[in-house]
Symmetry: C2
Subunit: 451 residues, 2 copies
């Protein structure tokens, strides 16, 4: 385990195998998988090591709001909405946009064609069942690539389509050859990969790899995998195929972001996402907030240079409105959230924050209305109100309130004065204070000082 920090790992990063894009992805370089210290180097020996096989600093996003997301219970995207979302995703900088199968309905077919004609920078994919009819329809729409999917777990073999692995393989090879003959990208993915037979999967993927598939896909369709299971499977697969590896994680057990990160560490190259994670059941790895928060900590240089993080909040709002949901209060970065630890934060925010809200176009909000917030937060608010030069520290402590059982702070004044002035802390013990309440206590004390 490497205990040194911030070495330049650029030379150690192998090129993505069989990469299908022209972009030379920047490496994590100076960050080297370590989460950033915002002004100070990290001192922990527990920095993530940039393993040779790791792609955490050069992953690609296959954005599936317009495919997986369209399967969300509350989703109905008309063509105007689809185009707005596709343009916003393109502006954010996703590598691929995946669309619902054109076989699903006439509307899906028309919309797929229309989006292909927008001339976006992102490549357009569509996600179809692995058969010739579906593949032909997909090609007909003018997509840049076709994502083939078939269920391979014993569950799906029995209940969904009943095909044997040999039939799956021969169909897959036929369809892959057809799509390749059209000069566009092709991916082959199993469904429910973590409950499929390992030997079957490796056998099938090796055959597809030899047939020249661009990516093989691993999907945790039921959302039950853990990061260690993911690392093991992807690491094994990385040793068996030379093509790119795409991953798709459902969030039924709350591990979709961590699983995506583990997959990249193990050598996967592509992550499927949707905005706010919308998709079947409770969805998949969320592009917004969660995955970007994770990756900007792991690989800040790559993420900040490649993706337009400042547009994330408006992208989320667009999609949330379209499917009529609220952005979860606890969404990383963009959710309604603030904290205390005010004393340390105000001296140096990086003490308790590893993500700089400004990177995402957000401002930092320090709540001062809780009874467990220290006087330092009150001081900061007084400064925000432009009254900083008119309060001494001791006076600020009087406004905030006396320490009840601790001798940490020294208070001036007699007991009566302390009782009279310690309004913020006393009031917060009785009822919630709005920001206005606190301000009015500060202003009233300021008036008292002047008279």
């Amino acid at each position: 385990m490497c205990g040194t920090c911030n070495g330049d790992a650029a030379g150690a990063v192998p090129p993505a195998a069989n990469s299908t894009t022209d972009n030379a992805a920047p490496s994590a370089s100076t960050s080297n998988g370590v989460y950033p210290a915002q002004g100070k180097p990290a001192s922990s020996p527990y920095q993530a090591v940039q393993d040779y096989i790791s792609n955490v600093g050069r992953f690609k996003i296959i954005e599936s709001t317009l495919r997986e997301g369209e399967q969300f219970a509350n989703a109905f995207f008309d063509i105007d909405t689809k185009i707005k979302i596709a343009k916003a995703l393109d502006n954010f900088g996703v590598d691929y946009i995946e669309l619902t199968s054109p076989v699903a309905s006439q509307g899906s077919y028309d919309d797929c064609k229309a989006i292909c004609q927008l001339g976006l920078k992102a490549k357009i994919l569509t996600h179809v069942r692995c058969n010739m009819e579906d593949a032909r329809k997909a090609v007909e729409c003018g997509v840049d690539g076709v994502d083939l999917v078939i269920g391979t777990s014993s569950f799906l073999r029995e209940y969904s389509h009943g095909k044997s692995m040999d039939m799956i393989k021969s169909t897959a090879l036929e369809v892959i050859a057809y799509v390749k003959s059209k000069g566009i990208e092709v991916r082959f993915s199993s469904e429910d990969s973590f409950r499929s037979n390992l030997v079957d999967i490796l056998h099938l993927y090796q055959a597809c790899d030899k047939a020249g598939v661009d990516r093989v896909g691993v999907a945790d369709t039921v959302g039950g995998a853990t990061p260690r299971m993911v690392y093991d499977l992807i690491r094994t697969l990385r040793g068996c195929v030379g093509c790119d590896i795409e991953t798709h994680f459902h969030d039924d057990t709350g591990c979709a972001v961590a699983n995506a990160h583990s997959a990249l560490e193990a050598g996967a190259t592509h992550v499927d996402t949707s905005v706010l994670g919308i998709g079947e059941r409770n969805g998949i790895t969320p592009l917004s907030g969660a995955l970007m928060a994770r990756m900007v900590v792991t690989a800040p240089d790559y993420v900040k240079s490649k993706y337009n993080l400042k547009s994330l909040k408006s992208l989320e709002t667009l999609v949330a409105d379209a499917v009529q949901v609220n952005i979860p209060f606890n969404n990383p970065v963009t959710g309604f959230c603030a904290g205390i630890h005010a004393k340390a934060i105000l001296a140096n925010p990086s003490t308790y924050e590893i993500i700089d809200p400004h990177d995402f176009g957000m401002t930092r909000y320090v709540s001062i209305n809780s009874r467990i917030t220290g006087w330092n937060a009150v001081k900061a608010r007084i400064e925000q109100l432009g009254l900083g030069s008119e309060f001494s520290d001791d006076q600020i402590k009087e406004v905030y309130g006396p320490p009840l059982f601790s001798a940490v702070f020294h208070c001036t004044g007699d007991i009566d004065t302390m009782r009279r002035t310690a309004k913020i802390k006393q009031m917060a013990d009785i009822r919630p204070l709005a920001i206005d309440d606190t301000d009015s206590i500060i202003r009233s004390y300021h008036l008292h000082l002047q008279t």
Copy 2:
């Protein structure tokens, strides 16, 4: 790696080191860390292996809604609310309830005393700074245990309290000895453990372990750790101390649930949670939904026998109301969510679901209003409406709509009939359908059949 499934691991599980409770926790036994197949054995060789050091099948919960949760920006709990929440947590079956430091304010002091006198089954802890004054106040309240915390990262040493590691250690040993002399539990935790110096932390924890501390605590205070970092640190620590290991994960990068799981795999014994994850910034590992969803998949027998899962939704609602937030739409298990995959789900829900909603007192909802839902979902709805015996499969397919480009389904009737009757699919292409819309199409077709 073990490829066999469902072996009885009961005999292989070591007892929790220095366990401080009388409960003999059931092991994961027949589940063996494999996620459950609901009616069929799992066939994947990627089952999680129940390592000798793993505690995924006998973890304990330290529930911190009334401490960490009270630091949430929107939290203000009066004593009545605190008592309601404490009783609901106790009813759910958490092992410990952690309260805000009695030093924080007179209200916190009084509330701590009051909750200690409720006579709950759960043990009551309070979380205080590692100094004698705070510890005395804690003991005075009548708690079952004291959780000591001190910042140890270089960031916190510089900006928060400025103490050297030697001072931290000698204070820690003094306070631990004091709390132990009172016959109650004591935990010592660092803050920001993943950015602290490894040697410092191990040195400090070993000294605390020798002094007879019940638990040492590892905290990802800034929420930047990954599952592999967590596994490495906890695995190392497990080899250095004999006491229990408590873990605390913030969710800034969306990994708090996965990190808790990885920590248990590496030998941690206790997980800190809060309801809906409320806490500083966007909070910590959520008890509700996420962690329970993860653990019921990993260790179904243990989780279902120990925790009252059916009370989870009402517990969430209680806390969500108290802090005035909405339960996130994508919350595992309890969030608003439904999926398609209707064909497979209706044959056997376990094909696409690894969590049985009934375990949580929830009902399964299959949406049939999306254009990409198959005719099988329409069939299920027709059966729910009590009309199952009056529709043939071909008629149901007519109601649903003809396949546009696929020959999977055989439709009777000429093109005109198909156009006339395929209302659900056609309408869903034009505007979102409410459940009433679909029902009315079904009923109208049924009327047409009868006349």
